[in-house]
């Protein structure tokens, strides 16, 4: 500390000025300019250079590869949701990949794949015509991979009658639900002549759509409408002389009707009959991808896992029928 403070500071200042050889005003302006460019680049240029890894690979390859992304986003049908929820932690245990599951309807599953937001979608129906045309317009080939089987069970509750007493053809089911048959005795002569209480689903239901398509019902006359499968089962269980329909996973503790197949034999909805495609009112649940997944890509690994014995056991634990 040889010199007084002011002298020392002045010397430091002069040294720095000598080093920089610029008037202070210019230095400050340069610093400001650097900050401004940094701000501009963050908010303006960044969105154009930041591309999610999946999309980056998609842009280069036109398909979804991407071992390095470590994320799969599966969105789509609420029917397939339990399957995805059952498989996601198992897949994570095996591979460490983060599987993100959400629902939103089969329409969302298709549009995610068509718009390139995700390589996989979960759907419970084949694509509609406008989805096919949108896919064609974008050069996307919708490839459906069946992973599980679901079935519509006709559930019924007539006091004094038990499982196996009610055998129906598809035509009879259609007549019951559209109001042609009003008494149980019209359906089956051994049943008492009580009024049939028809329980239906709300208009936007996928289950209702599937029911109406499988059984050829154009117009349902329901005495009561419920909004989900559990409520349907509870309503039928607690209402005597009622009839309704639900997804296979939910038809527990309730009588199901045996439906006639193509050749006239009546089949109850059990895992075996559905698996062998004998029970007529079944449908397949799919994962949809853009083209056939590239061998070794994350999508292919996931699909292989779903169709493996472990995956199919998870499908069973979700309440559906394994397809393999």
């Amino acid at each position: 500390m040889s010199l007084p403070k002011e002298r020392r500071n002045a010397m430091a200042l002069r040294k720095m000025r000598a080093v920089l050889k610029l008037p202070p005003k210019k230095i400050a302006l340069i610093i400001l300019a650097i900050l401004a460019i940094a701000a501009v680049s963050v908010f303006v240029i960044y969105p154009f250079i930041y591309v999610k890894p999946q999309q980056q690979l998609q842009q280069t390859l036109g398909l979804y590869t991407g071992q390095s992304t470590d994320t799969i986003n599966i969105a789509g049908s609420t029917t397939v949701l339990p399957i995805s929820l059952a498989i996601a932690p198992l897949f994570h245990q095996f591979t460490g990949v983060n599987v993100q599951v959400s629902a939103g309807g089969s329409g969302l599953g298709y549009s995610n794949v068509i718009d390139g937001i995700s390589p996989i979608g979960a759907v419970s129906r084949p694509p509609k015509s406008n989805e096919l045309s949108r896919a064609a317009a974008r050069g996307v080939v919708l490839e459906l991979h069946p992973i599980a089987l679901d079935a519509i069970c006709i559930i019924w509750n007539v006091p004094g009658k038990f499982q196996g007493d009610l055998k129906l053809t598809k035509d009879q089911v259609a007549k019951i639900f559209s109001g042609v048959y009003t008494l149980w005795s019209e359906v089956n002569s051994s049943f008492p002549p009580t009024l049939i209480w028809v329980v239906g689903r709300e208009p936007n239901s996928g289950t209702r759509e599937m029911f109406e398509k499988s059984f050829g019902v154009s117009h349902t006359e329901a005495n009561q409408e419920v909004t989900n499968n559990q409520d349907m089962v509870y309503s039928v269980i607690n209402t005597p002389n009622s009839i309704g329909y639900c997804s296979f996973a939910y038809a527990k503790n309730v009588n199901t009707a045996e439906i006639a197949g193509e050749n006239g034999t009546f089949f109850p909805p059990t895992k075996e009959t559905i698996r062998n495609r004998e029970y007529p009112a079944y449908r397949e649940l799919y994962y949809v991808t853009n083209g056939i997944p590239v061998e070794g890509s994350l999508t292919a690994m996931y699909l292989d896992f779903v169709l493996s014995p472990i995956g199919q056991k998870a499908v069973e634990s979700a309440g559906y029928v394994p397809i393999v």
């Binding site: 200042l13 720095m16 202070p24 005003k25 400050a28 959400s102 549009s111 068509i114 718009d115 406008n130």
Partner: protein, 361 residues
């Protein structure tokens, strides 16, 4: 070491001499004319915090910009009439919507707001059912909450003992913070089945359930602000009225309430604003059927779909960039406009009362 750092810091500070930036100092004359006593710079704490203060303005403009950017297409499509889109869909040419890109926006807005069918899958995008749903639920909520809230505020301000007030007021303010999902969840699981039981309906999810839940949600707002307003009426008013021989009830009814009317109106408008923007509670208990309810008492027992519930329910399953997507942004734009108008009216009323009463609230 510290010495070196100190020197570097001083040298760096010296690089930023204010003197180099200073405009020529304003003369005394200029300062007197401006009325300033200090010189203001932009690159100063004042400027920096001023930029931060502008952030709320920037955010509002950003919201407006993106709502308009994504919502304008639907107004353009509807500019050719409310039946063109459904016709396109029916004829199977739904990918030719871009032909409608140059529709008149004002006509489109009128068609959008007055169209009476909201059916996204059939390309019917008229939001009158949604607006009707919002107004019925909010109107019902106000009908229930206003009397209860204002009377309760009077009770808390004038009639109840300080101990009770010290317990009840914090409880009510505490419950202003309960999340709306919890209200909606309780409404869904407890209130809706209860209503279905009492009125023998198929499903209790109706405008009535929505109104009840919404009224419980806006009650804390009404009660606390009205109570503050009534308490802050100057004591002279009350003492003068009592001195003239009025009963307590007469004092409250004819003197205090009119004096506090500005605060009470402010609370009402705040409550309206909050009720209009409420999403989750009405989403879970209102049923979600987008039909215009009949204009009778039965309208409270029908299932409605308020605007906020429509956006929340349908946004998750809409493809980005589709007509439905733009329509939902249009609904958001209308919602933003309505809440902006409500806030604007609130500010107007506040300013008017401040002028009239000169600082009573």
């Amino acid at each position: 070491m510290m010495e070196l750092l100190r020197r570097v810091w001083t040298g760096f500070k010296a690089l930023w001499p204010i003197e180099a930036f200073r405009r020529p100092a304003p003369s005394a004359e200029t300062l007197r004319l401006r009325g300033l006593e200090y010189s203001r710079r932009f690159f100063s704490p004042e400027g920096f915090t001023g930029v931060c203060a502008l952030s709320s303005f920037v955010i509002t403009m950003l919201i407006l910009f993106f709502l308009i950017q994504q919502g304008l297409p639907i107004l353009q499509y509807m500019g050719y009439g409310p039946y063109v889109l459904p016709l396109l869909k029916e004829m199977g040419y739904s990918e030719y919507i871009w032909l409608l890109n140059n529709g008149n926006i004002v006509t489109g807005l009128v068609n959008f707001v007055t169209g009476s069918t909201w059916d996204p899958s059939g390309f019917n995008f008229g939001i009158l059912p949604l607006i009707a749903g919002t107004f019925i639920v909010v109107g019902g909520a106000l009908l229930i909450a206003l009397p209860i809230g204002i009377l309760s505020a009077i009770h808390l301000a004038e009639y109840c003992s300080p101990t009770v007030k010290n317990i009840v007021k914090p409880i009510i303010e505490l419950l202003a913070g309960v999340p709306s999902v919890v209200y909606g969840f309780v409404g869904l699981t407890i209130l809706a089945p209860w209503i279905a039981n009492i009125f023998s309906l198929r499903s209790g999810q109706s405008a009535l359930a929505g109104s009840i839940i919404l009224s419980i949600m806006i009650l804390p707002t009404i009660v606390s602000i009205s109570e503050d307003a009534i308490s802050s009426v100057p004591r002279d008013y009350k003492e003068a009225s009592l001195a003239l021989g009025a009963t307590h009830f007469q004092t409250v009814w004819r003197v205090l309430l009119p004096a506090a009317i500005s605060g009470i109106t402010a609370s009402i408008i705040l409550a309206i604003g909050r009720a209009l923007g409420e999403t989750m509670a009405v989403l879970m208990v209102c049923g979600g059927v987008a039909n215009i309810p009949p204009l009778s008492l039965e309208m409270f027992f029908t299932s409605v779909k308020p605007m906020t519930a429509a956006i929340a329910a349908e946004m998750g399953e809409t493809a980005v960039g589709s007509v439905h997507y733009h329509a939902l942004f249009g609904v958001g734009l209308v919602l933003f406009g309505i809440t902006y108008i409500v806030n604007f009216v609130a500010d107007l009323i506040n300013a008017r009362f401040r002028k009239k009463f000169g600082g009573s609230r």
